[in-house]
């Protein structure tokens, strides 16, 4: 382990423990594209999960990679346990590479097809001198068991395992070096729904047992809902809204979060909401719109949104939003909706108005089709 946790008790005003990871004003550019634009996020010491939600091109994966120094940032800073990650060199960097691990969407990015599962894990153990060499086989067996696999899998090749089993190996490998921070980049998106459910259970269990902190990158609201206390919604490289996951799901203050939430398919007819229509496609990140980057697609945009960039500000307690019209969203401003509920064949259950009290009211102009 690198450094002792920050021993300065009087640093922040509130009586909160310093975050394990602090991302301040992070920017990442790829040529003309601002993939990440002045993003600030905190990840508390474990057990804690921060979800990053957004569509393709929102910058969520780039943030995860910047945290691990897999891409170079062009501005801002990343601090891990009080140390500036960008200036780490030599042994300190090596130690950080051990403290922070990543699990990718596709486990095949992690597993060499020509190496036995056991050798892949042994490589990580040996590189970081986690246990004496003669203890390595025993530790591999422990790790595989911890990830819910048969220890005999150490003698197999990746192609002999299913996708879900390979993802478990990727997690075992990441955990082998006893990291304090995990970046989970769409860890279940490539998996079948039952396998995904098992994987989410595994992550929840490991999180409790190992007091893990993680950044969970996903486009799936269900996944953050099960695993993350906090969630940040990203749009075109910026944080649109951040707060407790529950609050974001039930009373989003940003029209984009609202639209994203309304697009999530629901099995339960009663909990379905009218889907908010976002006109057009996400804009070109190399040539972002003026003012609020979301304004060309925002159903509530006014003149101010076209010129003035909204700052991230307090919406409700511990819930911040970058939107000039957040109060109107919270008050239930009507947005154009697609007549989704009316098109679905009526079932035995009558569709009910949404239940949560904090939730935005049903559209004032119910679309009538028939």
């Amino acid at each position: 382990m690198t450094s002792a946790p920050d021993a300065v008790p009087a640093a922040p005003a509130a009586a909160v423990a310093p975050p394990l990871l602090r991302i301040s004003d992070l920017s990442v550019r790829f040529g003309p594209v601002h993939a990440v634009n002045q993003v600030s996020l905190d990840v508390a010491a474990g057990p804690f999960g921060l979800g990053l939600i957004g569509e393709s091109g929102s910058g969520k994966t780039t943030i995860g990679r910047a945290v691990l120094r897999l891409v170079r940032s062009s501005g801002g800073s990343i601090t891990f346990a009080g140390q500036d990650v960008g200036s780490l060199r030599g042994a300190a960097l090596q130690a950080y590479r051990r403290d922070a691990q990543i699990v990718f969407q596709n486990p095949d990015n992690t597993l060499d097809p020509r190496m036995l599962i056991g050798s892949t894990i042994a490589e990580a153990l040996n590189t970081h001198h986690v246990v004496p060499r003669h203890d390595v086989p025993g530790r591999i067996a422990e790790l595989l068991t911890e990830a819910g696999l048969d220890p005999a899998f150490a003698e197999r090749y990746p192609h002999q395992l299913s996708g879900g089993q390979r993802q478990r190996v990727a997690i075992a490998r990441a955990l082998s070096v006893q990291p304090r921070l995990l970046v989970l980049d769409e860890p279940t998106s490539a998996l079948d729904v039952r396998t995904q459910a098992h994987m989410l259970k595994l992550i929840a269990r490991l999180r409790a047992e190992r007091e893990l902190s993680y950044l969970l990158i996903t486009h799936n609201f269900g996944v953050v809902s099960e695993l993350c206390e906090q969630t940040a919604v990203l749009y075109l490289g910026k944080v649109a809204e951040i707060g407790a996951t529950e609050v974001l799901l039930n009373s989003p203050a940003h029209p984009y979060t609202h639209a994203l939430r309304s697009a999530v398919p629901e099995i339960d007819v009663a909990s379905r909401r009218s889907r908010i229509v976002l006109p057009g496609d996400a804009p070109d990140a190399a040539n972002p719109p003026s003012g609020c980057v979301f304004h060309p697609r925002c159903p509530l945009a006014v003149d101010r949104c076209r010129t003035e960039v909204p700052e991230l500000r307090e919406a409700t307690h511990a819930h911040r939003v970058a939107c000039h019209r957040a109060e109107d969203v919270l008050a239930g401003a009507a947005m154009s909706t697609h007549h989704r509920i009316h098109k679905t064949p009526p079932s035995t259950i009558t569709p009910m108005p949404a239940t949560s009290s904090t939730q935005i009211a049903a559209p004032q102009t119910p679309p009538q089709t028939a």
Partner: protein, 268 residues
Amino acid sequence: MTETPPTPNGPSGRLAITSLDISFGRRKVVSIDELRLDHAEIVGIAGESGSGKSMTTLAILGLASTVGATVSGSIVLDGQELTALSQDDLREIRGRRIAAIFQSPSTAFSPVYKVGAIVTKALRLHGATKSEAADRAAEAMRQVLLAPDLLRRYPSQLSGGQLQRVAIALALALRAEILLADEPTSALDVTVQAEVLDLLRDLRDVTGMSILFISHDLAVVAELCDRVAVMRNGVIVEQGPASQVLSSPADPYTAELLDSVPKLATTK
């Protein structure tokens, strides 16, 4: 169901599959007793990888033999037995009467041709004149809410959602009566997915197209489908009205699948 008109195509349904077996050598991978798709109906096939849902699509298209599978049983389209047809006759049915879209629309579009060239070529192969083909392609693009100008672009210049819409437009331009949609939204962002689902539902309402919608995502099936068949290991374990199957499943496997869907707003 209630909203859609009663089936005009007789009681047997537009597409009727009975006693369908698909095998690789002696290994049977699919065994379906009965599956029906009526006029203007959306039927979902839900199941995990390896459940046989995609093989079923291939069999309906008469393409199972291309992957080395043998098919026995009956697939009837408006009274016509498809399994008895030659590949030449099937070619007339594929595309023009039964079209298919897949998870990755890029597999349907060669990267070296403009998408318009691919769409018009398909139309010409099915007998349209050059100007007819151009007109119908443009009209179909408008039906899927895309600018006809996009036909002049290469597949790489379109987003995944746009390309999937073009694939649907192609099916529309061919006036296909049945659309086989194999995980058509699984690779799309959630907002784009919602748009494609809306589009499919609207097209069904407007054109009376029947859709066989294959997905592993029960929430998507719940949103879109009138009826659902749940498949496991090549067998339909349960089928019925989507609202009924998904709210009170009769089969424990369906219940397990439903349980696996991550629940919203149950944060610890």
